[in-house]
């Protein structure tokens, strides 16, 4: 049987291993829980993790470029808070609900980009600082007040392709799913088919070389951090629409979960590596694991321990594979 080199490459890739882990975990959960393998449950998981997926995609782009952004949860919160306050006071429609958070996201991303580029301090330090500043200012100004009472059109949501399953439950492609799929498509195209996407990979692979080649590093920094901000803004909108509440502390604190998903998906903290498929699988793994633990009735404190263990195991396997690879290279014909 002839196997193409592309297939071989896929079978050796970290995405494939991740896929196997997810399939294995899914099989176990199907056997030990009643509810896991049902359309209803899987649909719920998809809807409720979509905003994390959107942020994960943005973070992946930053990681590929050789940086990191920790502040995106604060960006998303600030964006959704301002959007929610505006539509409750002044009304508006979906366009307003979309444009406000993405504009704020892009602006806060630009702040990160300018600081990272000009200060030449590692982006993790800068974005931890901006996370605190963005979030602190929001809490100070709003005194941490929750927002409810959305207008009816916002509460009803937006959906396409309504359909009923055999058991009579209604499903639809709601706002969160539509947006998530659009984000996947746009980001995939951006990274693999556009010159700027390839420049982002190149910059993450070798910043000095990119500079010598005459890449516009300032432009690339702005693009990357603003894209992260843009997606954080969208994620803020999606999450607010989903839970119909804006609480300043509901997204902040989940940044490490997103970092975990992206790193599990094969993006490297050293820059230059990461794929859309990997990130999707990374988010999927985190999502079904948390869902599975919930269905099994395990305390939510355990979730953190399990996530931590999974990250440790995954990076250990990566490190071990690299060691094997190095050994193979060092082999001498004796």
């Amino acid at each position: 049987m002839k196997v193409s080199t592309g297939t071989v490459r896929f079978l050796k890739s970290s995405e494939f291993y991740l896929f196997l882990v997810i399939a294995g975990l899914g099989a176990i959960l199907t056997v030990v829980t009643e509810d896991f393998f049902s359309l209803e449950n899987l649909f719920d998981v998809l809807v409720s993790y979509s905003f994390l997926g959107i942020m994960a995609v943005g973070l992946m782009v930053v990681l590929i470029s050789g940086g990191i952004d920790i502040s995106f949860t604060a960006t998303a919160t600030v964006a959704q808070y301002i959007m929610a306050s505006f539509i409750i006071q002044h009304g508006g429609g979906w366009w307003v609900a979309f444009l406000i958070p993405v504009t704020i996201g892009i602006m806060l991303g630009a702040v990160n980009a300018a600081l990272v580029y000009n200060l030449r301090v590692h982006s993790i330090i800068i974005t931890i600082a901006t996370l605190n500043v963005f979030y602190g200012v929001l809490i100070f100004v709003t005194r941490g007040k929750w927002i409810y009472n959305f207008p009816d059109w916002f509460a009803e949501g937006y959906s396409l392709f309504d359909f009923s399953a055999a058991d009579g439950t209604d499903y639809s492609f709601s706002l969160s799913i539509i947006v998530l799929l659009a984000v996947f498509a746009v980001t995939g195209f951006l990274l693999n088919r556009t010159s700027i996407g390839r420049q982002i990979y190149a910059m993450g692979g070798n910043m000095d070389a990119a500079k010598r080649m005459g890449f516009n590093l300032l432009k690339l920094h702005f693009f990357v951090y603003c894209y992260m901000g843009f997606l954080a803004g969208i994620a803020g909108l999606v999450q607010a629409q989903l839970v119909q509440t804006v609480a300043p502390n509901s997204i902040v604190g989940r940044e490490l979960e997103v970092v975990a998903a992206v790193v599990l998906g094969g993006a490297s903290l050293a820059g230059g590596a990461g794929t859309l498929l990997g990130t999707i699988l990374g988010v999927t793994l985190i999502a079904i694991m948390q869902n599975g633990l919930t269905l099994l009735g395990v305390s939510s404190y355990w979730h953190k321990i399990v996530i931590g263990m999974i990250i440790l195991i995954s990076v250990s396997i990566t490190a071990y594979n690299r060691k094997l690879e190095e050994r193979r290279h060092a082999e001498i014909d004796v």
Binding site: S195, A202, G205, D208, A210, V334
Partner: protein, 498 residues
Amino acid sequence: MNGDNFLELRNISKRFHGVQALKDVDFELRRGEIQCIVGENGSGKSTLIKIISGVYTPEPGGTITIDGVSQSDITPAKSTHLGIQVIYQDHSLFPNLTVAENIGIHQHLETGRQFVNWKKLRQTARDAMSKIDVSLDVERLVEKLSVADRQLVAICRAIAADARLVIMDEPTSSLTRQEVDALFKVVRDLQQKSITIVFVSHRLNEVMEIAERVTILRDGLKVATFDAKDMDDHKLGFLMTGQEISYSALTNGFNREKTILEVDRLSKKGNYRDISFDLHEGEVLGFTGLLGSGRTELALSLFGMNPPESGQIRINGETVHLATNHEAIARGIGYVPEDRLTLGLIMEQPVGGNIALTVLKTLLTRCNLIDSGKQKAFIDQRISDLNIRVPDAEVAVNTLSGGNQQRVVLAKWIATHPKILILDAPTVGVDVAAKSGIYEIVKRLASHGIGIILISDEVPELLSNCHRILLMRKGRLVGQYLPSEISEKELGQKINEG
């Protein structure tokens, strides 16, 4: 301007914070020639390259003429546009991208191009490779390539960018002899395509092999440009340094009666096999062989970092098992990786601190704090022993002359009382004058009774510094030579055989 010239520089000067990096340099390149620029560190080679590639602007009064057109303000982008490509020592490749994308990377920077044309990118890469008869898998990631192949990718990238002048900075420094030959063939192919080549190199013998003309820089001034056929490496060395450099042959003997290290049938699968040799007190034992011959793996085994699978190591007659480098150090074995002999100094720190650094443990009080009285006595003793000329032990190392710095290095190593010192390629990337200083250190360490294992690629270095030379090939010891009984040429051939 002479119509044969691709590039002419006149009266080029450059000064950084009061340091004159280049002064009134005239330089020209003929179309399609291979020219080398040589000079010691700090002679202005890299400044000159950066002026040609537009990274630095020369001071007023200097002129740059490229292809008959005077260029007043040349920038990196403009020099690229004019067909000037620099291949830096690190190759400036993108390890996470494929061969095709690295070669065609300029396509991503074309103005007005928003989208990637993968088909065209691969075609560009194949075209560039076929011009110099290279075939690499275009889908392979550059990080999986050997150093030599990466260099080919960098050259292909220059070709793909329509280079008319390719400047290579130290292109041979991490290549084996075969790879250097392959590179030279590629360079001659480029010349056939009437591309001008500039080589910048420390390795004078290679310079002489490939270059048609040689320009020598010293202290920011151009000494002269010569036809390579009128030069030899001895003359070049003199012109570069302004001083007659001759490596004195090894005269001091060693103690044949006292064997300090015996290695008996040492083997490790995939590394080396059946290695036996011994080392005497005060002996300098050369190890050579191509990269991949197993010599570094063997050295690491002796230093406890790559435990052997079978065989014995005896130090002063006692069988030892070196499972970690900690044990090796405790047994009196030192290992100095490439060019760390001089880098082992902390330049901003005082002389005394540098000398005592490796032996701080022996200078502690009962409470495990440093006994400053003991430390001072120790340092003063070393300084007077080695005749280091310093006003006092508190001055920073970087204020000393080169010769005195080398004595500090010497003091530091002698302080640890090593019995065996392994030097792995100690002069790689070191210029001519500093090399002779390192050789002096090696000789003096040996005269203190330390047994030295000197791993090197450079035949003259081995012949003038070693008592015996052992040759490794594919993990085995295949020969032993005495410097007095083999010529440079013969040894060079033996190394490259098989």
